[in-house]
């Protein structure tokens, strides 16, 4: 499939050269890429789900390696893997259910099938349990019955012709279902802003003062949604040095008629006592409820905690990362160019290594992100509603399957 390979390479290039900015755009493009990978993937006769999973994993691994800082890529890859597993499982259950019915009907004619039918009944029970299972730690640790169920159904099939027809339709069905589900995922990513913004009125009240740092599409939409519902409130925008995204946010807010006050990042502590709520965006939300956010956020969170101001983080579900921040695979930060901080020309004489000891005396560190520990976060608002930081792991278990978390590590270690 030369087509997909070219697409993959193109996307890899963009990721490597940091040409895609923002987790939403990255997430959407990753999902679209994986969708085309799945649709082009030829599915073998048996174990279609396995083939799809392998294909997605192979590409996902490259994508994650291309820009390890952008966690959204890994999140989407894992989401798609989870979708494939889920769809496969539901198809299996449906098939077993169908078979069971036929077995029951056969039962009247032939008593030889008794042993088989009891076996398949057990499988059905297991499968049914797993489809309905709540994603608890216990079931995640339990051996998944999928692999056991598939060969059993094939061995217990009564007439072979009907079975092959059933198979081919099933393979098409699986791919179709998976693509449908990925489409839904893309739709979710695209509409996550609106879904989060819908909840705005529940959180922003009349005459409140909201503080935010830097610029985030999600926060912008959230504030607009509240404004549209005729809430009147004021916004303090911390400028978000050194990229000064806050300036852009302030501009947009003013354009929509919101009362806005722009402050420096260092003035946050002084202003926080007048603030009713801090609402910020995030780069990623980790499994423990910790937040990776633009630099300066920890300072805001600490100030908010000191003055008991609620610290609310808005994050689309594509930002939920199933990894823990202490995981060595997670690259928490990216150091950007010092030129965002200071003018090269003005400082060029400080960096003249020709004279002096030859080692630079001036170090400029420009990290892109901060880590905000879960205890500083009051509430997460995702497209699925508001959650406590301690509930994050549970939400994540809904979206990801436990197998995929580990797989990534094995793949990279094997590389």
């Amino acid at each position: 499939m030369p087509d997909t390979q070219a697409l993959v390479n193109d996307f890899l290039n963009k990721l490597k050269k940091r040409k895609i900015e923002g987790s939403q755009a990255t997430a959407r493009q990753t999902a679209e890429l994986l969708r085309s990978v799945i649709s082009q993937q030829r599915v073998p006769y048996t174990n279609q789900a396995g083939a799809l999973i392998d294909a997605v994993k192979a590409i996902g691994e490259q994508l994650i390696a291309a820009n390890p800082v952008e966690l959204a890529v890994g999140n989407i890859v894992r989401r798609v893997l989870h979708i494939i597993r889920e769809e496969d499982l539901s198809l299996t259950t449906a098939a077993i259910g169908g078979l069971n019915l036929s077995a029951v009907s056969d039962d009247e004619n032939d008593d030889d099938r008794d042993g088989d039918s009891t076996l398949s009944a057990a499988a059905v029970a297991a499968a049914a349990r797993s489809t309905l299972r709540p994603p608890s730690l216990q079931t995640l640790l339990e051996d998944t019955p999928v692999s056991a169920a598939v060969p059993q159904t094939s061995s217990s099939g009564g007439d072979s012709e009907g079975k092959t027809a059933d198979k081919s339709s099933r393979s098409r069905k699986l791919k179709h279902d998976v693509i449908e589900a990925v489409n839904e995922l893309i739709q979710d990513i695209v509409t996550c802003h609106e879904q989060i913004a819908e909840q705005a009125v529940e959180h922003i009240h009349q005459n409140e003062v909201i503080l935010t740092l830097g610029s985030s599409r999600t926060v912008l939409e959230f504030l607009f949604a509240a404004k549209e519902k005729k809430r009147s409130f004021r916004v303090f925008v911390a400028e978000g040095a050194p990229r000064y995204q806050g300036h852009l946010l302030a501009k947009e807010l003013v354009a929509r008629g919101l009362q806005t006050t722009l402050i420096t990042d260092s003035a946050v502590f002084a202003m926080i006592s007048r603030v009713n709520m801090v609402i910020v965006g995030a780069h990623a939300v980790m499994a423990n409820g910790g937040v990776i956010a633009p630099v300066g956020m920890n300072l805001v969170a600490l100030a908010a905690q000191k003055h008991a101001v609620p610290f609310v983080v808005l994050a689309g579900s594509h930002k939920l990362c199933p990894l823990y921040p202490h995981n060595p695979e997670v690259l928490l930060n990216e150091l950007r160019s010092p030129s965002e901080l200071l003018d090269f020309g003005e400082f060029s004489d400080c960096m003249d290594f020709g004279s002096g000891s030859g080692s630079p005396l001036l170090h400029v560190v420009n990290p892109a992100f901060d880590y905000v520990p879960p205890k500083l976060v009051s509430l997460f608002i995702t497209d699925a509603g508001g959650h406590n930081p301690s509930y994050m792991y549970r939400l994540i278990a809904d979206y990801y399957s436990a197998d995929d978390l580990v797989v990534q590590r094995r793949a990279t270690a094997g590389n």
Binding site: A6, N9, D10, N13, K16, K17, R18, K19, A65, A66, L331, L335, R336, S337, P338, S339, E340, D343, F344, G345, E346, S348, D349, M351, D352, F353, G354, S355, G356, S357, G358, S359, P360, H363, V364, N366
Partner: protein, 768 residues
């Protein structure tokens, strides 16, 4: 008939080539990348590997340039390979650059190119050839020649087609690191081009202060002076070889006269990234003596006011751009990369197939699979490549270590660049050095600052390599080219030499023969292989300027003392230049600057005039022609007509003295003859009385200094000049009046000609 057809076809082809400007704007951006610096600064390393493939923080330099071009939206790059072209082409063919979707890299190979100018001329010729072949093809199809001919022609056509420059292009050399966005510069260039067809080039510059002590930029290049029009950003003056000993630079007066305001900078760094219009290629062809892009092309264009081509500048502020010109800039740019000024082209971003590297605290970059002893100390701003092993108690700081190196225990590495597969045994010390691939350092060897070890050199046990020495397996080329700028000149011989030495080295390893080790033994210690090159042309003086090592303290103090002296001189002359002072043309601020130079100039001018005059006498050139020549000299030296008169008179007198004579009267006769013959020439400069006085003064000066033989004849020759109507009586009288108040010594000649003056006075009174 045939000729007519040809013309028609040519016209058609021309029409196709020169499409309307809007169409050109839509064309994909192209770049010419010169994969050769045409210098010898990186010798001896560049004898074995082209400069563009040398690793810069473990990635070949050309990858930085290509990655940037790709990111900046360039669609097509022509890589021009000269020295070691095979290596460059092989590397590119095996790299990922040939398989990029929207980015094509094409290589042009040529071996008989010795400069950037030649390279551009070649590209232009191929462009033109394209048009010719297009015509031919049309002809062929018209006249229905044999199919076979048609076929071969088509092949030629296709070959040439691949090197076509459509419109504006980026001219860059393969050793440039940048992360700037081209969009704005390109747009500015296009807009200027639309308004003014002569705006052929936009030069990218960046602010960077030069060191006040060493008078060189932080990249190790000479201090650069630029005059830029602050409004239009036009480049008016470019001087990278300013003479610091005088502490002044000369600006053409016309610059100040013609431009309402200019700003003069010495804190700008030339990034060697140029956006050029296609005319630039033809300019190089027209001026076949242009070799160097800056020294010849830019300066030539700035001086040439006939064609009126203009160069503009675009200053970048937040982004980075620098060219690696020498070892010092290699060091500085490496450090800039490690300090992330070049983001996203930094080691931990995989911009071009580099290995996965993790950035840890204090600017430490570590690739995977490194074996590091617990007791080894790896300091800040260090890059360690894939699969390198570091022994116990070794200390590494501010250094770049390549892939697959083995570093023993108790090794000290500081500010050094160690490339791939280097073996450093226990107890070695390396400070501020470059060590190329495959070098082996035996236990206890020490490299002093500024040492460069080329490929596969072996340093013997406990051997101390002296500072700034360059060691290579190849012998230093003994015959120096007259033109030291030629990199590749003895390149072919270099490779041959290399293989032969390789052979002997292998032999010595295999058989332990005494022959080769004997040759090296005194040089590099026991078991050492390689030659220490003697310090090259520039001498010790230049070595410390361009090496990777920081400038030693004593040099700095020496220089700063020298500079203090300079400073005094400069303050005396009131010519201290502010870093970027703005000079307004109608003020007389520049006068002071000019004084010193004009003195020099007038001496040269006098000599030139004299030479012209003597030639005219010898070859019997017509007076009119001499006048023309002297006039042109006057324009080029920017002299007044009084200066001309003085100079002409001076040469006439000189001639008179040189003509053989036995007595004073004969000399007087000679003088009279010459004055009669050439009076027209002299008169053409005597427009006003001031010039005449100038002549008398000049004569007086001559009599006192250079031609004392005239002194007894002063009054008589004055009389002759009066008789021939060269001097008017007013002039003589004014001169006499001026001298009235002078010292006694000055009055010698006034007194001598007192009678004559007396007579003149009386004559004029009588007339009244």
């Amino acid at each position: 008939m045939g000729a007519q057809k040809k013309r028609a076809a040519a016209a058609a082809a021309a029409a196709r080539v020169s499409e309307d400007p809007d169409d050109l704007a839509r064309q994909p951006l192209q770049a010419i990348l010169l994969a050769d610096s045409f210098t010898t600064k990186f010798r001896p390393i560049t004898l074995e590997r082209p400069k563009v493939l040398l690793p810069l923080v473990n990635v070949p330099m050309i990858n930085y340039t290509l990655a940037w071009l790709e990111a900046a939206g360039v669609a097509e790059v022509f890589v021009f390979c000269c020295a070691h072209s095979k290596q460059v082409i092989d590397y590119l063919e095996n790299s990922e650059w040939f398989s990029q979707p929207n980015f094509t890299v094409k290589t042009i190979e040529s071996h008989n190119i010795i400069s950037a100018g030649d390279a551009l001329r070649l590209i232009y010729e191929q462009n033109v050839a394209l048009v010719d072949i297009a015509c031919l093809l049309k002809l062929v199809s018209l006249s229905r020649l044999k199919l076979a001919t048609c076929y071969t022609l088509t092949i030629c056509f296709l070959v040439v087609l691949s090197f076509k420059i459509h419109g504006d292009f980026v001219l860059i050399s393969g050793d440039t690191v940048s992360n700037m966005s081209l969009t704005q510069a390109l747009q500015e260039h296009k807009e200027r081009k639309k308004k003014d067809n002569n705006a052929v080039m936009t030069m990218i510059i960046k602010k960077s202060k030069p060191s006040p002590i060493t008078r060189q930029s932080r990249l190790g290049t000479d201090e650069l002076f630029m005059a830029i029009d602050p409004n239009t950003k036009q480049l008016l003056y470019y001087e990278d070889k300013a003479d610091h000993s005088k502490g002044t630079i000369c600006l053409d007066k016309m610059l100040l006269a013609e431009n309402p305001s200019i700003s003069l900078h010495n804190d700008k760094q030339d990034c060697y990234i140029d956006i050029c219009s296609p005319e630039v290629l033809s300019l190089f062809t027209d001026n076949f003596d242009y070799q160097h892009l800056r020294r010849h092309f830019v300066k030539g264009l700035l001086l040439d006011d006939i064609m009126g081509y203009k160069i503009f500048t675009h200053e970048i502020h937040s982004s980075y751009a620098a060219r690696i010109d020498n070892y010092r800039s290699y060091d500085i740019v490496s450090k800039d990369i490690i300090q992330r000024w070049t983001y996203p082209y930094v080691p931990d971003v995989k911009f071009c197939g580099n290995r996965a590297t993790k950035l840890e605290r204090r600017g430490m970059y570590r690739a995977l699979e490194i074996e590091q002893s617990r007791s080894a100390q790896v300091g800040s701003f260090t890059v360690i490549g894939y699969g390198t092993k570091i022994g116990s108690n070794s200390k590494i700081s501010d250094s770049v270590i390549g892939e697959g190196c083995t570093i023993g225990s108790n090794v000290l590495i500081e500010g050094s660049y160690i490339w791939d597969n280097v073996i450093i045994e226990d107890g070695c010390e390396l400070r501020h050095v470059i060590v190329c691939d495959g070098v082996i350092m035996k236990a206890g060897a020490v490299l002093k600052p500024g040492v460069v070890l080329s490929f596969k050199v072996v340093i013997g046990e406990r051997f101390v390599v002296p500072a700034y020495s360059k060691v290579s397996l190849l012998q230093q080329p003994t015959v120096h080219d007259s033109d030291e700028e030629l990199e590749y000149a003895d390149n072919s011989s270099g490779t041959v030499e290399f293989s032969s030495i390789q052979g002997t080295a292998d032999q010595s390893n295999g058989e332990m023969t005494s022959e080769s080790s004997e040759a090296h033994k005194p040089k590099l210690g026991t078991g050492g292989v390689g030659y220490i090159w003697s310090i090259c042309e520039g001498g010790q003086e230049e070595e410390w300027r361009h090496s990777v090592a920081p400038i030693p303290e004593d040099k700095l103090t020496e220089l700063s003392e020298a500079m203090d002296d300079d400073q005094e001189l400069v303050t005396q002359d009131r010519t201290a230049l502010s870093t970027s002072g703005e000079l307004i043309s109608d003020s007389n601020a520049s006068e002071g600057d000019d004084n010193e130079d004009s003195k020099d100039d007038s001496v040269y001018f006098e000599k030139e005039v004299e030479a012209t005059f003597l030639r005219a006498v010898e070859e019997n050139v017509k007076v009119d022609h001499v006048i023309l020549e002297v006039n042109s000299l006057r324009l080029s030296y920017n002299m007044t007509s009084a200066d001309c008169a003085g100079a002409v008179f001076y040469s006439m007198m000189k001639l008179a003295i040189k003509t053989p004579h036995s007595s004073a009267s004969e000399l007087q006769q000679n003088t009279a003859n010459i004055i009669t013959t050439w009076q027209k020439l002299l008169k053409s400069y005597l427009l006003e009385i001031d010039e005449e006085i100038e002549i008398i003064l000049k004569f007086e000066e001559m009599c006192l200094e250079s031609a004392k033989e005239f002194s007894p004849l002063f009054a008589r020759i004055l009389h002759i000049l009066y008789d021939k109507d060269i001097l008017q009586e007013d002039a003589i009288l004014r001169w006499a009046d001026e001298k009235e108040g002078a010292d006694e010594s000055d009055k010698v000649f006034v007194r001598q000609s007192e009678k004559f003056i007396q007579w003149l006075r009386e004559a004029s009174e009588e007339e009244d």
